[in-house]
Symmetry: C2
């Protein structure tokens, strides 16, 4: 097939930062392969930026740069728009405008999808265009397409994801060196793994947006960031990490999406997982998503979760699919939200707790602690007691119970006279219940 | 949308063994979800079997069973054919007939695809129908779709796969218990991980078929089973496994697909990989595929590589996609073989060797051994020498060289007077060159 005779697919890129510049570079460098894989040449017709003279990682032909993003997406001759600006506005308005003007859209914008995905999906459906967003979760790791398509004949019951590289780097440092949170954060900042203002990462906002997207796809329902219970890692101490080590576990910030009796629970928080769990070996800034389904069993997807080139790889993968669709005058599968499930509040979510307590070293202490657990209907899986100079430490791991029961148990423990301090409370995931 | 008004998609299943019976069960149990995800009801209209009265894991309504597979695929009202018979014939004839009669096909048949894939792809293209085969490689693990679609905007440079569960189980046992091959094979057979005749698994035929399929997709070229250099694990000794342990490595049967200067090399053989490599932690009968690409970097896909339900999950994922396509009157992306690459013979493939040698314990031995390597242009990365009672053991790990250079070096070593025995030769993968 002589592709030079084909009408080219015309692409506009919004944003030319670390991801956008790699997309622009690859569109140029890979143009021959892209044309062969799409079935027509792919032509870059414009790159919208805030400032024409900003320094960039890639050389963009001057004629292609524009500060008029709205004008670019409204052009009649644009078939595909790649949105890599990020944030809510102007990204949302531009995507909606692009769809209205007949372009399909590829975006990496997790925050926007988690906040207002349904608006975008409905606009895409109404326009008869594609909206693809593989790059929004876990960078280069193909996880959305497997959930949307490969597992479409299966029932996903749980997704456990390490979907934020910054926090995984910090927790991995704390585990390997015994460092505290602040020290590990500083190292991450020095190495470029954490931003000067690390809030979005360390407070779990980034992971929560991704959890909402994962849960929506896994369970065929609408989940937004507001539905996600979120706790960051700023309270994780070196003692917590050591306590995990003592039980052959490791602390990870997990995005957890679960299906329970037809309802979904979606949460982001630090948790201890056994070192034998496949997620435990995800080191440094890598990401991984662990999926449990009824028929397929346990699957894991692992790779770099961020970075310009990896994220651009995911964007271009979507771009090839969307371009093929556009060429054939069709679209891929749209939003699948038919199951319309209830989202459980955190209190009703079932989990397990690891609790470390400093107690008086005297007879009857264990009985009082055990009673506190049983009064709240929580059964204990293991207790480890260690005498020290003038006190003792109890480490209790519970069986599964609702978060409300477990939280009430911890409050109860704090009020006991024989309890000097509750030194560590952390959820436990990835093991037997 | 009221799906009951939609004309149903009609499915015929060929074969009702461990995979087929699970497909039949899930089509029934998941019918509501499948209809919602496809956009129309999915109706099972026939199941072709060899014997009507054979015992089965699932109850098939008697009216659906038939021994006339050819008649079933030729029916006018069949939209989709699922082929899970396996083997070359009659599977090939039935798939070709199904396509000719206007049905799209989902198959798990790795042997057929690796031997004669192009014939099937051409028939599908000519008929304007889909041919999907995610279940043919690594069971439930979504790997073909990520290669075909998610990475379509990237350049895959290497695929390292543990794609045969039986051999991974055996090698894992040998590693964890020190058992020899025969003993580990017997345990695998007792536990149902190996068949009574284990040839296809332990001699690497199964993995070679999957390697051909992976290489074709990864590199956009045609690779058949005949192009794959194949060595099984029957010669792997407890001493080899111990030798790997000594260098903090583990022996795995790897399917290796590489792109080098535009040509491809595809091979299956046991190899030592460092324990720090993500593939090293793939235990028991699990599978995993490690993918290296220019932009995405390193990705890994992990999960159960076999079994009725996991394989059926992959089949049904394809079925949902193919059914959606059929409903929309379109097809997905077909074969992508535009790159048309040369397949290198094994001798030109670049790899590294681990060689253990019993030598006379006297001065000048190391010099003679080093000379043998350098005469064949192979440079040495590490040498470990250990004196024993009346001889010494040398363990040499080479830098990267062609397999022909390395094989010639080993032949040369065997001819040296000071060499008593070459006790272990194994390739080394997954590390720095």
């Amino acid at each position: 097939m002589d592709l030079t005779d084909q009408r080219p697919l015309r692409v506009a890129v919004l944003g030319c930062g670390s991801v956008g510049s790699q997309v622009v570079r690859l569109l140029d460098e890979q143009s021959r392969d892209l044309a062969a894989r799409v079935g027509a040449p792919v032509e870059l017709v414009g790159v919208a930026v805030r400032r024409l003279d900003a320094p960039r990682e890639v050389e963009v032909p001057a004629g292609l740069l524009t500060t008029d993003a709205e004008g670019l997406v409204a052009r009649d001759d644009v078939d595909l728009v790649v949105e890599v600006i990020g944030g809510i506005e102007p990204a949302r308005g531009l995507i909606l405008s692009a769809l209205e003007h007949g372009a399909s859209v590829v975006t990496a914008n997790k925050a926007l999808l988690a906040e207002d995905g349904p608006t975008l999906f409905e606009a895409a459906a109404k326009a008869g265009r594609d909206l693809y967003y593989e790059a929004a979760v876990a960078g280069a790791i193909p996880i959305l397409r497997p959930l949307r398509e490969s597992l479409a004949g299966d029932t996903v019951t749980r997704v456990l994801g390490i979907v934020n590289g910054t926090t995984n780097f910090i927790l991995d440092k704390m585990d390997s060196s015994g460092a505290g949170f602040t020290e590990a954060l500083e190292e991450a900042q020095q190495l470029g793994y954490a931003e000067a203002d690390p809030t979005a990462d360390v407070e779990g906002f980034d992971a929560a947006a991704k959890a909402a997207i994962l849960a929506s796809l896994a369970f065929h329902t609408r989940v937004t960031a507001a539905d996600v219970h979120r706790e960051g890692i700023t309270e994780v101490t070196a003692a917590d990490v050591q306590s995990a080590r003592d039980m052959d576990a490791v602390v990870k910030l997990l995005a957890i999406c679960e299906l329970k009796d037809g309802a979904v629970a979606v949460r982001v928080h630090p948790a201890m997982i056994p070192r034998s769990h496949p997620l435990a070996s995800v080191r440094e800034a890598y990401n991984a998503v662990f999926v449990e389904s009824v028929s397929a069993g346990q699957l894991m997807f692992y790779g770099p979760g961020a970075g310009g080139a990896p994220t651009a790889s995911a964007v271009l993968g979507d771009l090839v699919t969307v371009a093929r669709n556009a060429l054939a005058g069709k679209t891929g599968a749209g939003e699948s939200a038919y199951a319309d499930r209830v989202v459980l509040p955190m209190g009703e979510t079932v989990t397990r707790y690891h609790v470390a307590i400093d107690v008086d070293d005297k007879a009857g202490v264990l009985a009082q602690v055990a009673l506190a657990f049983s009064e709240h209907g929580v059964s204990i899986q293991t207790v480890h007691q260690e005498g020290r100079d003038d006190d003792a430490q109890l480490v209790v791991v519970s069986h599964a119970a609702t978060d409300a029961q477990l939280a009430a148990t911890v409050e109860h423990l704090r009020e006991l006279d024989i309890v000097r301090e509750v030194t560590s409370v952390m959820r436990v995931e990835g093991g037997d219940e």
